[in-house]
Amino acid sequence: MKLTKLKAGLLGVTAMGICATSAMAAIEGENWWIGGRIKQGFSLAYDLENNGASKGPSNFLLEVRGNWRPTNSITIKADVWLRGDWYADIGSDIKQGGIQDFTSPGFVGQFGFNINGNGAGFPGEPFGSRPTANRFFSDFNDEMLRELSIQFKDPEGRFSLKVGKFQRGWGQSDGLRLLDVLNAQDLRERFVLRDAEDVRIPAWTAALNLNFRRMGLSKPFEAIGMKRTSLELIFMPEVRHSKFVINNPTSGATSGGIFGFPYPRLLDSKSGLGTAFFGTNLTDNAPDKFSFSDPNLAARLKFEAFGGDMTLNWLYGHQELPVTSLQGANLLLGTALNDERQATAVIPLTLDQGLGAAHAPGQYLDFLRSLVSAPGSVPFPLAPFGCTSPLVGAPNCSLNYNFNLDYDFRKKLVGGSFTREISELRLGPKNVSPVLRTEFSYEFDKPFNTSRVITPFGEEENGTTALVSAPSSSIVFRDQWSVMVGVDYFLWLPFLKNQRGSIFTSAQFFNIHTNNSDNLLYQAPYAAIDSRVNKNQQFATLLWNFALYKEKLFIEGLSVWDISFKGFTHRQRIDFNFFGDTFRPRLEWIHVSGKKEQGLLGFFKNSDIIEASLTVQF
């Protein structure tokens, strides 16, 4: 295959970058240091919904980090990266599902949506978009600046204050976040399967750490068995929410590549038909990004008790994932494909009008359902606008509902963690004790979209059609508590006499309990049948790693089971550290299986990749 000039150029840029970086060395003085890395990956995506295997994401990263420690009490850190993905330029086009296909039987099929291509035109593949937004994540504050902080430490160790842009990890859980909720996550590149550090979105923050023992305030705590007590106070005026892309064909189509969230299936639970001619315009509704009056606040009391480390945590933050809230709709004349650019007229509808268009007697849902019971018994409701009924001719109108992805709800959470080496238990040939990790969180009034509403017209709606309802009835609040129990163990094999190093193993079990969980959507707008919140949602994880060939071949596996939704993912990494400390080649395999749209893993069931990457660091 001939490379286009652009492709050749991009590869050239990468190759030159890698060569240039390999010749570089970190520069440093006694109290300062500047280093960095460049990483380029190329992947093969397989197990795709329609295409088998194709060229997948080609993520790259350029990072420069530095620090300066002018005195023992002050540390200044900076970290800037530019990352992105050449997928839009050199990746294959991959077809996913789009809006409901009104030519398919019962409208239950979906039109294809090319996540790296333009639409080929009706009726084959009417929609498409290139994920060019992922090419460079180049917004300096939002995407490039990873850290710019100054920390002052009291020489006596009584307190420290860190101010600036940075991230802070809390809790003991890996993979799923119970207490590690101070920073939102960037899910655009590989969902949560990157390193936690790379997934977290840093925010402008002030963190004050008070060491009660050194401040002479520990007596009351020690009296009740709390030793080495310290308190961390977090003030976060910059409120960020998690970043992701929905592969949305509607109007200004957006694509996030194979790690974009697939467009949801829109099905009417009563008739079993697809809600043809429905599309969605999605708009973020986020709180003020930078606000001293409405910041995120958090505190963590840390101490030793019962032979281990304990924390008590509190967060008054914001939701990092959205609920949908309907704002109104646009009626599109002249196009049945929900593309406002192709419409001859766009008629905005208010929220009430939008609700009426779906639910009022004789309107869309009545018409749709009549197709099953008595076709033609309900007149086509858009006929007064000059729209052709699909029963009599080529449809030429569609309706886009305008949803906010609403992040403007507070996250109110308390929790705690406990970690302890179980010295009483000595296992294996080396008599090594396991380390117990537990974590608990309780979130008050967590917002959910409900999958069951009573419409203003007295009808009960479930699933997709329940999304078309006023926010006052579609958003409900529930308390949720979560528990994680994990064990870390350094495994020495009894039959391997000269094992150089142990195999690190870490297993976790999660139970997430939602009070009064009936009829809650796991994550709107995914409203397919069974995509509901379970009363007890359970996950298990297993992480292991070991090194071979004198620790040059480093192998790490991470498996996650979504027990409740029967999903599974595995990330396998193999690092080939055979080429000194500058070059870090890696093979990474990500496999996801699950039921479509069910649970976290079901979203990415067709996002399997094998990636080869090279990092050059200095």
């Binding site: 970190a26 240091w33 280093g35 960095g36 890395r37 980090r65 620090n67 420690r69 023992n72 920390q151 430490k153 160790g157 860190k162 991230q167 990890g169 809390w170 003991q172 890996d174 590690d180 390193d195 936690a196 550090e197 977290r200 750490n209 023992r213 050194r214 030793k227 080495r228 310290s230 961390e232 281990g308 480390d309 970690t419 302890r420 080496e421 010295s423 000595r426 040939p429 080396k430 008599n431 090594v432 004790s433 396991p434 870390d488 350094f490 006499k497 000269n498 190093g501 142990s502 090194a547 004198k550 620790e551 040059k552 550290n577 000194g580 400390d581 500058t582 990092t615 660091q617 200095f618």
Partner: protein
Amino acid sequence: MKRRFLKSVAAAALISTLSMAAQAGEKWVDDWKAFAEKTGEAKHAEWAKLIGDPESVKLAKEWAELRGYTASSLIEKANLPAELKPGLVINKDNIDSFPWLKDYLPQASMDRLKSSEWFKWGEIVIVPTNSYYMSRGVLEATRKAQKDGRKLNATAKGNLLTEDGKHAFLVQNDVVPFLHPKDGTELNWTQAFHSIGGDNLAFKHFDLKVCNSSNKVEREYSADLFWAKFHNRTDYAPLGSMPGEETAVEGGSVYFLKPLDIRGLSAVRIRYADVDKDDNFRVFIPSLRRTRTLAGSDGQDPMAAGLEITWDDWRGYWTKTDPRKFEYKMVGEGFVLGQPDTGHVYVPIVENENGCEVKQIELELRPVWILEVNDKTGQYLYSKRKLYIDKENYYQQYQEMYDRRGNLFRIWDDSRDFDPKTGQAQWREVLNWNPISNRMTHMNMNSSWETLKKGLAPSLFDIDELRDYR
């Protein structure tokens, strides 16, 4: 040529000044002066000057008085080969002409000299024997304990207790437990007491180089490392006990600087006095940006990938004393050739360009007790450790570690950064090699005395603060 001439003149001038100023009479000082004069090397002259300083000599003599001997006096009494004296150069060509050498130089070191392939040593130069000792604070406390007739009880369980049942390392960690150890148990406790050789350690930086069997550098790490004794501190603030560390004996931290992919990896490890209380071992993992508790009961993993050094090998020997798991046996005494602790002035090794081979290594003859630590469990990483414990400062001069099959697995030979004026010591350089896989970890420590003077910040031992060290 001109440069060399100037160097020689400078060295000669220094030696001549020394000769005039020095007080005659201390054998190790006289031997070093003579040796420096003979070699004409400024580094030797500078070392001779330092050990000949009245302050150094005074402290050395007081320790000698307490112990009842010096290394030099023990050597004088011994029946040693006449050829084994300062200035002797041993190389591949003449090593076989010294049949007595095997009694003083462990085979693992002789093999390096004879090797024409992996981890070659070009030549060994025998330097004069020094006098090594610990600090004045330890001297005075030990002297007082002797006077008071204090006795210690090394229990079968593995605790060292005072007469009133307290852990010795929590209440009198400035007293050498057994000045003249009678058996392996006492010898082990005495070497365990030596610990880091002072109140604190500060390495800025601590460079580790992993060399493979082709004498190529395979990996390089760089870290800053800090360590502190928590009780009976005599030299650096806080004197006495570190607040809030009632049950811990010592602790330290390490913050990795290189390579980039592990930069920021940091660990704090605290050791408790009680044999049954595992170390508190917390690690900050940069890729998670979170602190994790690791098993303090596992000291057998390498400190970082590819290194020959495990946590239990840190500072030579850091396995927790436990007679239920190990047998401590004093198998003899004698002399061994180990690297001199001249690191305060110079490194006694001239290495090749990449640091994977040795062009020249200086060794000095040291009087030692030989301690064998035999694994009773049948599962420990090493079936046996053989430590050559120095009779002057109770630190190992040389160590051999044997694998489960009984093969020599690793060797530790180091040079301390010993300050003769104060008796305090850090480390300067370590050779840690594996003759089975033919790999070598070469450690170079840059001891930061300045940091010790300023005091180690408490935040260095708090993992949640250490993460922002750099």
